[in-house]
């Protein structure tokens, strides 16, 4: 009896690590005011890892588990989720919240766990010399602001002198991120920046849009999230603001944001850091191994949407970083420190994206010890209300590094000084 129990315990001990070797917690939000954005992102994130598990047997033979923890887009809950899951062998966090990211940066630095924040979070974390554990490639908020201005320059023959550009933003750490960049760029290009904050959740924006109606800015940029986006687009349609002059950041460019306004949203534009829709070969595999097998995350009704695509993209980058880390460490059962090396030496080429079934879906990039931010290029997409579809109207536009790099260096240097961080990578 005793021998049997010992054998059983040994068998269990041997089996357990293989069942949960690569732990990638999914700090998601499927409830609360921001759930319409959190659900598709979480579904795309989970489904991609499910595909790798079902089709390839995981990554390097190790299955990936994505235990979900509900944050409700609430910073305190996000931190609780981090504390509750970090002991499970968590390899990386991707909380989909700038507020949570700011709270986690000191924690992951102490715990030595990578924090991956594609297209959100603290912009100056792009400087790997200071932010050893944070990665935000392929693009960040300041890249987005710069790309928007470069697009407008292109629309105006390279001259924005005398133009008025309004920034309608979520009155939070997230919404305020682009102000510094847009202010610097206004000095360079001669436009006037009008800042228009909207308080959480943004259900009522009459004052803001009356101001826009009075001030008549040539262009409106938006840094919104959740219901704020939908209300802003509806209000813009109400005051007959020309939609082709209204451009949102990539967090203001999902189907959720435009559908409630119906035909009024036609022509609205937004930035995008990846492709969208289901015209990619990876969806054939997803259908076979995930959707048709009944293993889709959530209700399975978000497939192909903008935010589903973004969640999938985040999972793809993490999985490639894991692959790289396994290669560097010479073992498939990597730990968080080894994954940091994988993130730092990650290179994703267009050939690799094609192999992964997502040709031209995202930009190629190569990270390094110094560069945790990637190339920062973005696309512009436009909403067709009749077809209920986003269409890409530009190729990838590179940001203005001449302005951005000094800003990133200045901000990260200030962070390093405040926190007594010695620069690395020297």
């Amino acid at each position: 009896m005793r021998k049997t129990l010992t054998a059983l315990a040994l068998a269990l001990a041997a089996a357990t690590p293989a069942m949960a070797e690569l732990v990638v917690p999914n700090l998601s939000y499927r409830t609360g005011p921001y759930a319409p954005g959190g659900i598709p992102y979480a579904d795309g994130f989970n489904d991609y890892f499910t595909l790798l598990n079902e089709r390839d047997g995981g990554i390097g033979g190790e299955k990936v588990v994505t235990p979900e923890c509900e944050t409700a887009y609430n910073t305190e809950k996000g931190v609780e989720c981090y504390e509750a899951t970090k002991g499970s062998g968590a390899l990386v966090y991707n909380p989909l919240s700038t507020g949570i990211t700011y709270q986690l940066i000191p924690k992951v630095s102490a715990d030595k766990i990578p924090l991956y924040t594609p297209g959100y979070g603290r912009t100056s974390a792009a400087n790997g010399k200071v932010f050893e554990w944070v990665f935000n490639y392929p693009a960040n908020y300041w890249d987005a602001a710069s790309v928007a201005i470069k697009y407008l320059l292109d629309q105006n023959g390279g001259d924005l002198n005398g133009k008025k550009i309004a920034l309608v933003y979520h009155n939070s750490a997230y919404g305020k991120e682009p102000i510094r960049t847009l202010t610097e760029l206004s000095k360079k290009h001669g436009y006037t920046l009008i800042e228009i904050p909207v308080d959480h959740p943004g259900q009522e924006q009459k004052s803001q849009w009356l101001q826009i109606r009075r001030d008549k800015p040539d262009y409106v940029l938006m840094w919104g999230w959740g219901v704020m986006n939908a209300v802003a687009i509806q209000e813009a349609a109400n005051i007959k603001y020309p939609m082709e002059n209204f451009i949102g950041v990539w967090w203001s460019g999902s189907e959720n944001d435009v559908l409630p306004a119906g035909d009024g949203a036609n022509g609205y534009k937004s930035l995008a850091m990846h492709g969208t829709g289901m015209d990619y070969p990876v969806y054939a595999d997803l259908k076979q191994y995930v959707y048709d097998a009944g293993k889709a995350s959530g209700a399975g009704d978000q497939v192909g949407s903008v935010l589903y695509s973004r969640g999938m993209y985040a999972a793809l980058v993490i999985s490639e970083a894991i692959r790289k880390a396994q290669e560097l460490a010479g073992t498939s059962a990597i730990n968080a420190v080894q994954l940091r090396d994988g993130f730092e030496q990650l290179e994703i080429t267009q050939e690799r994206m094609t192999e992964l079934g997502l040709p031209n879906f995202g930009q190629a990039f190569k990270a390094s010890c110094e560069d945790h931010g990637g190339p920062g290029a973005a696309l512009i997409q436009q909403w067709d209300a009749a077809a209920k579809k986003w269409s890409l109207i530009t190729d990838f536009i590179a940001p203005d590094d001449e302005v951005l790099v000094p800003l990133v260096m200045e901000d990260s240097a200030a962070f390093a000084a405040e926190n007594n961080i010695a620069e690395r990578c020297n």
């Binding site: 499927r30 409830t31 005011p33 259900q203 009459k206 004052s207 219901v227 109400n238």
Partner: protein, 328 residues
């Protein structure tokens, strides 16, 4: 006329319209508080639940589809029909009546004669329960609500003010509809409470539960009645706000806009909810217009509460609330 004055007039006018939208939410609070002394924390969630149910019926969505599919491995999503708006509204109103019956039977009945704080806590529980129920029934994705209400700038107001003042005012058609609906609601509720048997019974219960019971008024019926009416008012508020932003879970936060209205107008007065809404709406928009740019903007959320608190300093019971004097 100077441009600034015209702009201020436009901001004030839009503030009044926004105030009516706040009043629509505040009315539900007043009805329940007036009849039962309960501060219904769940009123915002009732508006969300009503709007979710309306869109669900209208679009022919299968309730609990996600749950059913997960348990039975089915692929149910829609019935394949789209109901006319009026039918969907009637069905959603029916669900709100059913909900009122369930609330009375399974919550309120067991809390008769409990202190108000217990009833308040129960409504907090109800709010979270209903939010979860709405999620499981209809899903948390954003839904487009289209019951045929007009939206966008009112051309008549714009052209009339343009020709008279040289600047065309913006007024949203949806806000005009909301104002008419709010006026009709207030008239109907006032007539109901003043001239119908049930309305008089409702007022009697509001004055004194024990005395009302002693003359044969059914407290349980009155509670079902008042929660049904509050549910209907929540449906109306849900339609108006949902038409603007789509139906999604932040709709429940519109309750935050109603609280300063209640503080200012009083918790027991239907006209107070309307007048309070108008004052809050206009006050916050004018403050944002004149002072907002000097202090960075986004003042409306907090200024509404400051305004309400200022009124409370002079009239603790609110503008129209009943002064409570407890004799020892």
């Amino acid at each position: 006329m100077p441009d600034q004055l015209l702009y201020a007039m436009e901001a004030g006018l839009n503030g009044l319209m926004a105030g009516v939208m706040y009043s629509l939410v505040a009315l539900g609070f007043v009805l329940i508080f007036k009849a039962s002394g309960i501060f219904n924390y769940a009123q915002g969630v009732l508006a969300l639940f009503a709007a979710l149910t309306l869109v669900g019926f209208q679009d022919g969505q299968v309730p609990f589809a996600h749950l059913i599919n997960a348990v039975f491995g089915t692929e149910l999503h829609h019935f394949g029909w789209r109901l006319p708006a009026i039918v969907a509204i009637a069905l959603a109103a029916g669900v709100m009546v059913l909900l009122a019956i369930v609330i009375e039977r399974y919550v309120l009945k067991h809390l008769v004669n409990q202190p108000p704080i217990i009833l308040f806590m129960a409504t907090i529980g109800m709010a979270y329960f209903l939010e979860g129920l709405g999620d499981i029934m209809w899903g948390a994705d954003i839904k487009t609500l289209d019951v045929g209400l007009p939206q966008g700038i009112n051309e008549t107001v714009e052209s009339v003010t343009g020709s008279l003042l040289g600047y065309g005012f913006f007024v949203d058609n949806l806000d005009i509809v909301a104002s008419v609906v709010a006026a009709l609601l207030v008239i109907s509720l006032t007539l109901f409470s003043q001239y119908s048997k049930q309305g008089r019974a409702l007022r009697a219960v509001a004055d004194d539960h024990q005395a009302a019971l002693s003359v044969g008024i059914s407290l349980r019926f009155i509670w079902v009645l008042v929660w049904s009416i509050a549910g209907f008012v929540a449906l109306v508020a849900g339609i108006m706000w949902g038409s603007k932003s789509g139906v999604q879970f932040s709709l429940s936060l519109i309750a935050l806009k109603a609280l300063p209205v209640l503080m200012l107008g009083g918790f027991t007065s239907i006209p107070g909810a309307i007048v309070g809404g108008l004052i809050i709406g206009m006050g916050e928009k004018l403050f944002e217009f004149f002072i907002g740019p000097m202090i960075g903007g986004a003042t409306e959320n907090w200024f509404a509460y400051v305004l309400a608190l200022l009124f409370l300093v002079f009239r603790p019971q609110g503008l129209f609330g009943e002064r409570i004097i407890e004799r020892v």
